[in-house]
């Protein structure tokens, strides 16, 4: 009986496709693939916005005494007499961080890839709750609009850092930002809502809608990572929402949750923010790890090395992620005893991370490496993430953190894990799944040029930041030349900024490739990378409903180069393994 019902719903979905208006089909669509593409366009736009903000910031930091070229086109409240104003600089850095984290990288990892890949890789017709899914995108739209508009209200956009430490963030009289801050918080509450709705969907889908034979330990690592990420989002985002709402009340209703004058506690904000914030940074890295594992396996033509260990490492990173948030607060006046506990728990995250790193290398070991663009970015991910992860060790050691806290050492760390990590993997993912999404391949040659420019200039931008951090350059300063101890590093700042401009420009190369290939890319066929997971076993782009018939899964996700396979080096998850002799599988 079960299968009959299933087939019936499947058919229903398939049939729906025919008589749909443009609006239903592409705008208010409930098809997970369309929603993923909507998210992709949205997040690429905000990646551009976040990058632009960074460029303005970099100009100011490197040449604080120079006038901003074309500064005149910005309103007086931002750039006066050609100079970026300090309050605008604060908005720039705050909104750069927030836009990148909340509107670009997080929705790109989760909104795009969880939506696109979970149903396809698990072999179902759609998400568990398609309409909820649509809602989770449309909730993001007002969030984006609020964010963009906040630049133009009186007082400017939020300016207390993306961490919004109270009391600065709670008192317009002290920060000079009133409405902008509230708009920021409302936007974040909306992002939180979107991410919770998304998470409910992803978790339920993974728990209940796997194709027959798709056991837990046969799920592709991407799905595993997205599943764990959804759990993190589900449990962390509501705490930020609760805290954010209290902060809005402090600003607008005259409450004093985080204001010491009324008996409130500034540290409470930090605890709540980081209780969310640390799981959040793992939300930003786990899917990237999953994507990397997958692409490395495809590119090396080898099964993922240590699949089981990879799964458990994901789970333990997620779990540890909830008990380390205090490492952002070592110098905040938190109890020193707590600092000790948080040091230990934080350092232990290096263990599952090491497992992942070495397993990625194990995957490449004795492989047959195809250096196509996705593979290059995936390798780049491993190489760059490790640098960011290792710099995390410095900060996790409380005594060392006394010195490097709130310096550019932290900024270097942030970008090695977020750009070198998350964004590299995202680029890998886009190059990899683009043919599935749009039926055409992105241009390989342009892709490779994009990769090399990104790799080189990314390192030129962010590696020196370790250096100037060691010198003691603080974060979030408008004018480093104010300080005697920073006198010698202004040339480094200039180097960083120039490289940052090139890095930004390379984004347009990517954009060009992206849009051009929609029309002119090489036709992809169903499985251009000869990959094994289910999404490649259906036409590109897949039809509404994904499958005429739900596939049946016979074995694990990454079966490449099995010695007994006759004329190809891969075995799709829904291919019967009859040809494979038992026992040969183990090493």
């Amino acid at each position: 009986m079960a299968t009959i019902v299933a087939e019936a719903t499947g058919q229903a979905i398939l049939h729906e496709t025919h008589e749909q208006s443009f609006l239903r089909k592409y705008v208010f669509s409930t098809d997970h693939k369309i929603i993923a593409v909507q998210f992709l366009i949205y997040t690429l736009f905000f990646l551009l916005v976040g990058g632009l903000l960074a460029m303005l910031m970099r100009y100011q930091i490197a040449w604080p005494a120079e006038q901003l070229p074309l500064g005149g086109i910005l309103p007086e409240s931002m750039v006066a007499g050609g100079y970026i104003l300090p309050e605008f600089f604060n908005s720039l850095l705050t909104m750069h961080g927030s836009v990148m984290v909340f509107l670009a990288i997080m929705p790109m990892l989760v909104g795009v890839w969880a939506n696109y890949l979970i149903p396809l890789q698990l072999g179902t017709h759609d998400m568990a709750f398609p309409r909820l899914n649509m809602l989770s995108f449309w909730v993001m739209v007002p969030a984006g609009i609020l964010t963009l508009c906040s630049f133009f209200v009186v007082g400017g956009a939020a300016g207390a850092g993306w961490t919004l430490y109270a009391p600065l963030s709670a008192r317009p009289d002290l920060s000079g930002v009133a409405l902008g801050q509230v708009m920021w918080l409302l936007a974040v509450v909306l992002v939180g809502l979107s991410s919770i709705l998304g998470s409910v969907n992803y978790i339920t889908t993974v728990i209940n809608l796997r194709a027959p034979g798709m056991t837990w330990m046969r799920m592709p690592l991407t799905v595993w990572s997205l599943f764990i990420t959804a759990i993190l989002g589900l449990l962390a985002m509501p705490v930020l929402s609760a805290a954010g709402i209290m902060l809005v009340f402090d600003q607008t209703l005259g409450t004093s949750f985080f204001l010491p004058d009324g008996g409130g506690q500034p540290l409470l904000w930090q605890h709540l923010f980081w209780f969310f914030g640390h799981p959040e940074v793992y939300i930003l890295i786990l899917p990237a790890m999953g994507i990397t594992s997958e692409i490395l396996s495809v590119g090396s033509r080898k099964p993922v090395f240590g699949y089981t260990a990879m799964v458990w490492a994901l789970i333990s990173i997620a779990f540890l992620g909830f008990i380390v948030w205090g490492h952002h607060m070592f110098q905040s006046g938190m109890d020193p005893g707590l600092g000790l506990a948080f040091t230990i728990s934080t350092l232990f995250i290096a263990v599952p991370s090491a497992i992942k790193t070495f397993n990625w290398m194990g995957t490449m070991w004795r492989g047959n490496l195809h250096f196509h663009t996705p593979m290059l970015f995936a390798i780049g991910f491993v190489a760059m993430f490790v640098i960011g992860g290792l710099s995390g060790i410095f900060m996790a050691s409380t005594p060392v953190d006394i010195y490097i806290h709130d310096t550019y050492f932290i900024v270097a760390h942030i970008h090695y894990v977020l750009f070198g990590g998350s964004l590299f993997a995202l680029f890998a993912g886009i190059y990899f799944w683009y043919p599935k999404m749009f039926g055409r391949l992105m241009n390989e040659r342009l892709g490779k040029i994009h990769f090399w420019i990104t790799l080189v200039f990314f390192n030129l931008v962010f590696f020196p930041m370790h250096g100037i951090g060691m010198v003691g350059m603080m974060r979030r300063i408008y004018d480093p030349t104010e300080y005697e101890h920073l006198a010698n590093i202004q040339d480094t700042n200039a180097l960083i900024s120039v490289s940052a401009f090139v890095l930004f420009a390379s984004g347009f190369l990517f954009a060009f490739n992206f849009f051009r290939s929609l029309k002119h890319g090489k036709k992809a066929g169903a499985n251009p990378w000869q990959a094994t997971t289910l999404e490649w076993q259906t036409p590109s782009p897949p039809k509404h409903g994904n499958w005429e018939e739900i596939p049946v899964v016979y074995h694990g996700p990454h079966e490449y180069s099995h010695p007994s396979l006759p004329d190809k080096d891969w075995l799709a998850q829904n291919e019967r393994p009859d040809i494979v002799t038992p026992a040969a599988g183990s090493h």
């Binding site: 004058d261 240590g306 005594p399 300063i477 104010e482």
Partner: protein, 235 residues
Amino acid sequence: MDWALPENFSTQGEVIDQLFYIILVLTGIGFLLVEGGIIWFCLKYRRREGRSAHYTHGSNRLEIVWTVIPAVIIAILGGYSGVVWQDLRSESNRPQGGLEFKVVGKQFEWNVTYPGTDRTLGTEDDFVVRNQFHFPADEMVTVLLESEDVIHSFFIPQLRVKQDALPGKTIAIWFDYKSSPSVRMEGEWEAIGNFQIACAELCGLGHYRMHAPVTVHTAAGFDAWLASQASAAAQ
């Protein structure tokens, strides 16, 4: 272009720097291992016609190796960091009866309350100097940090000191300045070190210029300075 830790002048800076370099070596090894491995694999196993990849799902023995080795390193590092941290910050190690200053951050300045000639805070002869921090060398001094408005952070890079100043709370930190035998004394009050307090926590639009000069004196020079300031304040 000079990317190094600035010269250190404090006792706590020594252990911090030492720990920094220990971690640098450990992570440096990890870095070389991983990056070297990646490059090597990329060269050695790049695609060649006719060769196929080695089919394996992994090795439990290796998993154990690369779980246990980092775990051991981490445990030792964590333990040692913890010991150092306790030494530096645990309330029970706070120097008793030494010289104390109260430093209050406020948008965008540092106001220092000096203990006066009786060298104790909270007495009649305390006086406040705006945006100037003087203290004697070779003595553990305690700073009681407060804030009037938002969170600031008291940062003196050359002494490896950093601590947030929280409104509504007083936080004690302690540190010293170790003079070297070859110091040059400058001026009337025998100044031997000049630094800046920087504010390391975003505190509003003047955050970037919230700095104050720090002057370290010889013990004698400091006493003289304190006396002169105290009498000036008394008038």
